[in-house]
């Protein structure tokens, strides 16, 4: 069965919404009019990511020979544009001798994973499930 033009437009908008929500934490909720939630995500998630960098955490490389490193890299990428800003500015090298290294990694990885949850939440809101 072929999708109607309206359905295709809606699915295109949903893809754009999810991309925006991934790229800028909270953007999806702001788009959908959930302003307070969007602002909280917009502030809290990049702040958590920045704390991870300040704690000498590492932005892991996409090394598929080491599955855990590859998975950590995917989780890091979950934060969206802040990831690219950090890498372009040379942050995220990781200081393995720092006491806070593992905490930094936890902050970076969890910030990315939480942003992916936020994307799923925005999708659910757009679909009328919430």
């Amino acid at each position: 069965m072929r999708a109607t033009a309206a359905e295709e437009t809606q699915s295109g908008t949903l893809v754009l919404l999810c991309l925006a929500s991934w790229a800028v934490p909270g953007a999806g909720h702001l788009w959908l009019g959930r302003r307070s939630k969007g602002v909280i995500f917009l502030i809290a998630l990049p702040l958590m990511f920045a704390l991870g960098l300040a704690l000498h955490g590492r932005l892991f490389p996409f090394d598929l020979n080491e599955p855990l490193v590859g998975l950590a890299a995917i989780a890091d990428l979950g934060i969206g544009i802040p990831y690219f800003i950090a890498t372009s500015l040379g942050y995220g090298g990781g200081e393995v001798r720092a006491v806070t290294y593992e905490y930094g990694n936890a902050f970076l990885i969890v910030a990315g994973l939480l942003n992916l949850l936020v994307v799923i939440d925005a999708f659910d809101v757009a679909m009328g499930r919430k």
């Binding site: 995500f41 998630l45 936890a106 919430k130």
Partner: protein, 57 residues
């Protein structure tokens, strides 16, 4: 900051905040859910910490 407990508190705060905002729509429900989650994080970390205390690294 290099305090393990301090970093644990900050981490628990952020995770509880995001989960509460995702899971609940009402501000009171968010506060209640987030508070419970935050308390649960801290309590479980302290209990597990003391349980592991006798074991050498």
């Amino acid at each position: 900051m290099q305090s393990h407990l301090g970093l644990l508190v900050v981490f628990a705060f952020f995770v509880s905040l995001i989960f509460a905002v995702i899971a609940k729509d009402d501000a009171r429900a968010q506060l209640r859910f987030g508070g419970l989650m935050f308390g649960g994080f801290l309590a479980s970390a302290l209990v597990l910490g003391w349980l592991m205390y006798p074991f050498p690294l």
